[in-house]
């Protein structure tokens, strides 16, 4: 508990300095690997393995250029964007009405069933889906990846949106109904607009989770629809690891996510614990 102080007490000043020193160490520990990634993405292969490492050096863009030249990286980024956007869109389309219904009619059981998707190991869905997709010839198609990534986005969207919808006063919807609006009109014209912030945050986070997903993609995307995480992993399958290219690719995939995360930071904790608080 900080108390207002008028005179500078030397012991307090030292304690304060100590406090911020410890704080700096903690922050550095959590930042260091990311900074290391960024730093090495701009180094030549020789500079990367040089010890002690140069902290000041002439940065090179070669790694980034090579990633796009020798790997089909632009294609992988496009695949990731398409699949993440598709599965987020699908999650919103079917998740928003469901979340509203769960909130409005207290369909708790349905909510819990959706939550099970968070508990079940993802691979449980993967074996059956792989078998079914194989039979339908859907392996390595955008459709199969969007559908399976929706297993990640849908539960998330539902569990973030249920509390949002619950917070909307009943009277607001009833007033619209009395004025002759249908339930669909009420939902689209009244409920959705006031839930804007929640929808934006949950979609951004759902997008990030799909973008980060590795397991579904490594099984279901073999070539044409390969996403960035799988592409990065394939980098190290070669005998000689190109650390520079690897770090450049890692920066390329992480940077957009981190920017999105910072935009939505206020809601992230709430989002990550969604479901657990109520379930």
């Amino acid at each position: 508990m900080p108390t207002p102080r008028k005179r500078l007490d030397p012991i307090k000043v030292i304690l304060e300095m100590l406090y911020f020193a410890v704080l700096a160490v903690i922050l550095l520990a959590f930042l260091a690997p990311l900074l290391w990634m960024l730093l090495n993405a701009f180094k030549t292969p020789l500079q990367i393995i040089k010890l002690p490492p140069d902290l000041i050096f002439t940065p090179t863009l070669d790694n980034f250029i090579n990633v796009f030249r020798y790997q089909n990286f632009a294609q992988y980024i496009w695949n990731s964007v398409l699949i993440a956007a598709g599965s987020t869109g699908l999650g919103l389309l079917i998740g928003l009405p469901a979340a509203h219904s769960i909130a409005r009619y207290k369909q708790r059981l349905f909510g819990v069933i959706i939550l099970v998707a968070r508990i079940v190991p993802g691979i449980t869905f993967l074996i059956p889906l792989y078998i079914i997709y194989r039979q339908l010839g859907l392996i390595d198609t955008y459709l199969s990846l969007i559908l399976s990534h929706a297993l990640v986005t849908l539960p998330f969207i539902v569990w973030v949106m249920v509390p949002f919808f619950e917070a909307i006063p009943h009277e607001l919807e009833e007033a619209a109904r009395v004025d002759g609006a249908s339930i669909l009109q009420t939902f689209v014209q009244i409920v959705l607009p006031i839930s804007g912030p929640g929808i934006v945050t949950s979609s951004i986070l759902a997008f990030v989770f799909s973008w980060n997903n590795f397991m579904f993609s490594i099984v279901l995307a073999t070539n044409k629809t390969k996403t960035v995480p799988v592409a990065i992993y394939n980098f190290i399958s070669y005998a000689q690891i190109d650390w520079g290219g690897l770090m450049a690719a890692a920066v390329l995939i992480t940077l957009p996510v981190l920017i999105l995360a910072l935009i939505t930071q206020r809601y992230i904790v709430a989002g990550l614990t969604a479901g657990a608080v109520k379930g």
Partner: protein
């Protein structure tokens, strides 16, 4: 048209999601359950014929499975323990006002939002025995260099370190949110009574924070049991089988050996374990809250 929708809205609104859930979750779960009772293997050319509980009998005699169970719990227990202790400590440390606190929470968000595969690659570079920065620093300060993910006995702690780096921030952020929401009264009266910071922390803050801590622990345990990306991309379960957890083993049986039946029985057991742990933690949480 509108009246129909209006009358049955409570069934029509959740319907698309329900269809999706049935087709993509419940049906696959049932299918996995059925597969676990068959000897289906693509690689051995065995068709999906019913063999009863044979897979389960074999599974419990499978030493690779037993090892994976032990390793999964070892990894989870170690990771969650370290994350909880560090996370709560850092949250208590940060729980005061100072300028730029929002910057701190922003930085804490980064490890857990970053793409796990990218994170794994950086740690791979840092753990690299000869060219990696970690061994270099250790050598500079006169400590022995480690093999990290390259040796049987250090591979799991090394993977745990990555998990700790990535997920301690989540515990910190959840606990910080919990701390901010605590009632003021108990603290004020304790200060009036002349209690020290440690007494307040031990007898007031931590007990009041307990529900939040258990929620955080529940979430972390479920996810830690299922850790896949980091382990698969960094070690593939190696060296040997020394970091092969249940998730990795199932993946190998299913998509490397293509033993769909056997892998399915493994999944059923795995799922039961995760469910058991979640129920146990939920139960603990209830007892704590009373």
């Amino acid at each position: 048209m509108h009246t129909f929708l209006d009358r049955y809205a409570r069934w029509i609104f959740p319907l698309p999601a329900l269809i999706f859930i049935v087709a993509m979750m419940i049906f696959p779960l049932g299918y996995t359950l059925w597969n676990s009772l068959t000897g289906w293997s693509l690689s051995a050319g065995r068709p999906p014929t019913f063999i009863g509980l044979d897979n389960y009998v074999r599974l419990f005699q499978d030493e690779r499975f037993q090892g994976a169970v032990v390793r999964t719990f070892y990894f989870t227990a170690l990771a969650v323990f370290v994350e909880m202790v560090l996370g709560v400590a850092i949250a208590l440390f940060l729980h005061r006002d100072f300028r730029g606190k929002r910057v701190i929470t922003s930085i804490l968000l980064l490890p857990m939002m970053a793409t796990p595969v990218a994170i794994a690659m950086v740690w791979l570079l840092m753990y690299e025995p000869t060219a990696g920065i970690i061994n270099f620093v250790l050598k500079q300060v006169g400590l022995p260099r480690g093999m990290w993910i390259g040796a049987n006995d250090t591979v799991i702690p090394s993977l745990v370190l990555v998990d700790v780096w990535q997920w301690t921030p989540m515990i910190v952020l959840i606990c910080l949110a919990g701390l901010t929401a605590l009632p003021r009264d108990p603290f004020e009266s304790a200060i009036v009574d002349g209690a020290s910071y440690w007494q307040i922390t031990r007898h007031i803050t931590l007990p009041l924070l307990m529900p939040t801590i258990t929620v955080a622990m529940l979430l972390r345990s479920i996810d830690a049991l299922k850790t896949f990306d980091i382990i698969y991309t960094m070690t593939l379960g190696g060296p040997g089988f020394s970091s092969e957890t249940l998730n990795i083993l199932t993946y190998q049986y299913a998509f490397y050996y293509l033993h769909f039946g056997y892998a399915s029985s493994l999944l059923v057991v795995f799922f039961a374990l995760v469910l058991g742990v979640s129920l146990l933690t939920t139960y603990l949480r209830r007892t704590v809250e009373v």
